[in-house]
């Protein structure tokens, strides 16, 4: 286990908070100074994450950079942070997505210091969520992240921002209450909030008997008690991801938010939900998930297919990408659910489970990167057209903006999973791993892939090809600064597509350990 002389994870979480305070102190006088300072802080966080990446011991895959202090003893609350491959991957993703979000928000003119300090606060909450291993402070970060997100949508959003922000807040809050109640039940039964302790209890089959013992209630059978407790926790994450039918807040939140914020929502915040499934639900509640595996699989398949078709019906680019986000995260959940399928210890299928789990990790990262880049292109488009972003507003942009077309084309192809680009690897591993485990669900999910291809190509066709819309004859191509900023993101898509080992090396052992956790 790597031991660091300094509490590096706490420093990482504190860094954006310091940045946020600094921005507020700078005030509204020099907007560019504020923007550059925000960018500097987010890049500093990126550098720090890369240092963690280079010091990470990939062989063990276990929890590293651990800090553990008692906080409130009677409540079992400890300050316990550490990361494994999954946590590290999420940290890296957040630190890549936030600078992209800041770039894409450059044209924000109103209350600039507040905007960027909220962005940095959101980043701090993300870091806190991805490193916490005790429910108590994990939940604090999880809930706290709603506040900056709410205000970013509410204050800088589009025409229907009030409704969208409220809907977003209410949905997520209701889910969180279920989550909180479930964990209170676990705490009252076991007197611990530590994820690792709870997972160990679950592994030995002692967790639910303890809960049932404590929560015995008239008319409710013990099995049902376990399922009720699971459902509460499930609800919290299902809303956040989101999983069909809890997704209705997402399209309006994503489309009403300023595009820079949408990048944060889709690139990083939606991963909180999937991360919760992997870090919390899977290790602690897998026996219950196994009981309701079939409905869960149906939900995942419905999420994949319905969201793809819904994307097909949209005209607004942001809404299309919003539904496409739901679709992509659906694949992650398909893989996660497939992994808990009972296989009787078949060694061959265990290999498939590793593949599916690795695929889910990769897909999270890839979707974050690709979706953030795609929304970035939308932000650039909006900046040039004064906010127009409907499919019907454009046409033939290829002629006036070839570089823009080429780069956005790459991002679109990455989104539909073209081999050689990053999107392919994750989806391939998910389908390869899931098919032998849950053949019917996986086969149905392929429909989603197909539909994604249709609407993605549709975007290319309607925006970039065809006759040039006379309105856009003087449409400027990407500036040098924009090209330079976009280059790393596009480069990373190719790098991961051609050499996925870059990420797999870090997460593989974590994935294997997670699968090993379930003793059937």
């Amino acid at each position: 286990m790597t031991s660091f002389p300094i509490p590096v994870l706490s420093i990482l979480t504190a860094l954006p908070v310091v940045g946020a305070i600094a921005l507020l102190a700078l005030g509204n006088r020099n907007k560019n100074l504020v923007r550059w300072t925000a960018l500097a802080f987010s890049l500093a966080a990126l550098v720090l994450t890369l240092i963690l990446w280079s010091h990470f011991d990939t062989i063990s895959g276990a929890l590293q950079f651990q800090e553990r202090n008692t906080w409130v003893a009677p409540l079992g609350a400890e300050y316990h942070v550490a990361i494994d491959g999954l946590g590290l991957l999420m940290l890296l993703l957040s630190s890549i997505v936030v600078p992209i979000g800041i770039f894409a928000s450059w044209q924000i003119q109103d209350r600039v210091p507040l905007y960027f300090s909220l962005v940095l606060l959101l980043q701090a909450c993300l870091f806190g969520t991805f490193t916490a291993l005790n429910f108590f402070h994990w939940f604090i970060f999880w809930e706290l992240s709603l506040i900056p997100a709410f205000f970013l949508i509410r204050l800088w959003g589009g025409a229907n921002r009030t409704k969208a922000a409220t809907q977003f807040l209410v949905y997520t809050m209701v889910g969180s209450i279920g989550l909180l109640l479930s964990f209170l039940a676990l705490f009252l039964a076991t007197r611990t909030f530590d994820f690792a302790d709870l997972a160990t209890l679950a592994q030995h089959g002692q967790l639910m008997p303890a809960v049932i013992d404590k929560l015995a209630w008239r008319h409710v059978t013990p099995d049902h008690v376990a399922i009720i407790v699971f459902t509460g926790a499930f609800l919290g994450f299902a809303v956040k991801v989101p999983l069909f039918p809890f997704h209705t807040w997402l399209p309006s939140a994503y489309s009403e938010a300023p595009t820079g914020t949408t990048i944060l929502l889709t690139g990083a915040m939606s991963k909180m939900g999937v991360y919760g499934f992997l870090r919390i639900l899977l290790p602690i509640f897998w026996p219950q998930m196994q009981v309701v595996l079939t409905p869960l699989l149906w939900l995942a398949v419905a999420t994949i297919i319905f969201s793809a078709y819904a994307a097909l019906a949209q005209r607004d680019l942001k809404r299309i990408f919003a539904y496409s986000s739901i679709n992509h995260l659906g694949y992650c959940l398909l893989a996660i659910f497939a992994v808990i399928k009972f296989t009787g210890g078949d060694a061959a299928l265990t290999g498939e489970k590793y593949a599916a789990m690795n695929g889910a990790f990769l897909q999270m990262f890839n979707h974050g990167l690709t979706a953030a880049t795609l929304f970035w292109f939308v932000a650039i488009l909006e900046k040039r057209t004064g906010g127009l972003r409907s499919l019907d507003d454009f046409g033939g942009l290829r002629k006036v903006a070839p570089v823009f077309t080429g780069l956005m084309g790459i991002a679109l192809f990455s989104s539909l999973g073209l081999p050689g680009l990053n999107g392919f690897i994750g989806e391939f591993l998910i389908f390869k791993g899931s098919f032998p485990l849950v053949p019917w669900a996986t086969s149905l999910a392929v429909l989603g892939l197909l539909t994604t291809a249709v609407f993605t190509l549709g975007i290319l066709q309607r925006v970039f090809y065809g006759p040039l819309n006379s309105q856009w004859i003087s449409f400027p191509d990407l500036t040098t600064r924009e090209r330079l900023a976009l280059a790393p993101a596009i480069g990373l898509m190719f790098a991961l597509g051609l050499y996925p080992q870059l990420v797999l090396a870090v997460v593989n052992n974590t994935a294997i350990q997670m699968v090993e956790h379930f003793k059937f």
């Binding site: 409540l75 604090i140 706290l144 506040i147 209450i177 909180l180 705490f187 009252l188």
Partner: protein, 498 residues
């Protein structure tokens, strides 16, 4: 009867004596030496002297912590009463300091005297487990508070508030006394522990039912729990800001503590339960009803308020509902959680009133629209107000969040089966979610809404700025490191053996 050792008694009540002597000295100095001076100077001198007296009382408690139980709980001193008394004294000091910039009266000496007398009343109140002493000190406290509420002689609202407060207070005192007299009749004793011993029985005597209900109502008045909450909005709005702050903070802490003691000690054995499936008569169902009503009424009516003080009053009713859960759980842990909650709640409320006092002084009243754009005009006051409001709303990592969380957990853990009280906790959580709406509306006005064009700039007095910053820092610190306070409370509760 054993002969009374008066010197020992005096020794035991020394902190209270210090406070009372300070009160007399302050009044004498103010009347003799400072009559002709400016009000500001008089307030500064009187508050400083009175604060010194309170600090001396704290020091006395800390340096010579007495352990005693005289005449079956007539006068009690143990770590727990020490903790509550210190908390009360700290809150009194803050109240005195925020009144430094007040201009609502020229009777400075009397004002400070009444605050200190009320404090002495509260200290006796928490240091007793005897019905007579409890009633007398409760009346000492209440009578001082009635006058404090009426202290702004130039304001009709202040009069109206005080009159309502007095009438309701008198009625509830009658209720309380009626309940106490029934208890004495049933048990032939005024000591809470003896009463509990005498009341032990399988079935509820009808007289006992009346005693339970009237006692709960009488004490419910002090904590502003529904249905005896009507005085709260008027008093919170009409009373001078320091008086209102004092009523909302210090007197709440003392009343909750004594409420817990009377119920958990005096009525031990006739608890009853409020399980959904199985309701047993006793005092717990009465409190559960009061809690439910308070949570619903407080939160829902607060939404409609246009005055910040009235909003805080309804939110106080709602908070009383949450805290009643801590009483009806009546375990050591829930008492610890209740004390943590009520102390941090008192800090936040006191701070909020300090900010309101400044705005009101300069803009006329506490209408919510007067807070528009405060964020730009008075950044420190607004930041602190935001911290207080968010803490009241229960947003992590502030003290209010931890208080709620810990309270709810201990309530669930109070019964062998956590599902028993689940419905109350779920209601409380749902109502806290509702409360977010009106709390955030205040912050929206402070930070988002632009200020009215014709409004004058806000001048923030230095003393108030330092005070509210200190209170805000305490709210943040206690939220991030609850162990600082909780360890102390826990060991005190353990030592008291309640």
């Amino acid at each position: 009867m054993t002969p009374i050792n008066y010197s020992e008694l005096l020794q035991l009540a020394l902190p209270q004596v210090i406070v009372v002597v300070t009160a007399l000295v302050v009044m004498a100095i103010d009347l003799i030496a400072l009559r002709k001076r400016a009000i500001r100077i008089r307030f500064t001198v009187a508050s400083a002297l009175a604060s010194l007296g309170c600090a001396a009382a704290i020091l006395q408690i800390l340096v010579h912590p007495a352990q005693a139980n005289i005449f079956d709980g007539m006068l009690i001193a143990n770590p727990l009463t020490h903790f509550v008394q210190i908390a009360l004294l700290v809150l009194t000091i803050f109240t005195l300091l925020i009144s430094v910039d007040s201009r609502f009266t020229e009777h400075v000496g009397e004002f400070v005297l009444l605050i200190l007398i009320a404090t002495a009343g509260m200290m006796f109140l928490v240091g007793s487990q005897d019905l007579l002493v409890i009633f007398i000190s409760l009346e000492l406290l209440s009578l001082s508070l009635y006058i404090l509420a009426a202290f702004n002689k130039r304001s009709g609202q202040s009069w109206e508030a005080a009159l309502k407060y007095f009438l309701f207070g008198g009625m509830s005192a009658a209720f309380l006394l009626f309940g106490f007299s029934l208890l004495y009749g049933l048990s032939n004793s005024t000591s809470l522990t003896r009463i509990a011993g005498a009341l032990h029985g399988p079935s509820l005597n009808p007289l006992l039912v009346i005693a339970i209900v009237t006692t709960a109502l009488g004490l419910g008045f002090k904590i502003a729990a529904a249905p005896f909450h009507f005085w709260a909005p008027d008093v919170y709005q009409g009373a001078p800001a320091p008086s209102a702050a004092f009523i909302a903070s210090g007197s709440k802490v003392a009343s909750f503590f004594v409420f817990f003691q009377v119920m958990a000690l005096g009525f031990a054995g006739v608890n009853g339960t409020v399980t959904l499936s199985h309701l047993v008569r006793g005092w717990v169902p009465v409190l559960a009803l009061m809690a439910t009503l308070s949570m619903l009424l407080g939160n829902l009516v607060a939404i409609r308020q246009t005055s910040l003080r009235r909003l805080l009053a309804y939110s106080a009713i709602a908070h009383a509902g949450y805290m009643l859960l801590g009483i009806l759980a009546h375990t050591q842990q829930s008492l610890a959680a209740l004390l943590y909650y009520v102390v941090t709640y008192a800090f936040a409320t006191l701070g909020a009133f300090a900010v309101i006092a400044v705005v009101e002084e300069q803009r006329g009243d506490d209408r919510l629209s007067h807070f528009d754009g405060l964020g730009k005009q008075a950044p420190i006051l607004s930041f602190s107000l935001a911290i207080f409001i968010l803490s009241l709303a229960g947003i992590p990592p502030l003290a209010g969040f931890f208080g709620k969380f810990y309270l709810f957990v201990t309530v669930l853990a109070a019964t062998p089966n956590p599902v028993d009280l689940l419905w109350l906790v779920v209601l409380a959580i749902a109502m806290s979610a509702v409360s977010l709406y009106y709390y955030l509306r205040v912050l929206k006005r402070v930070y988002v809404t632009p200020p009215a064009i014709d409004c004058n700039a806000i001048h923030s007095p230095a003393v108030t700025q330092i005070l509210v910053l200190a209170l805000a820092a305490a709210v943040i610190l206690l939220g991030c490191a609850p162990n600082l306070l909780l360890k102390w409370i826990d060991s005190a509760v353990q030592a008291s053996g309640l």
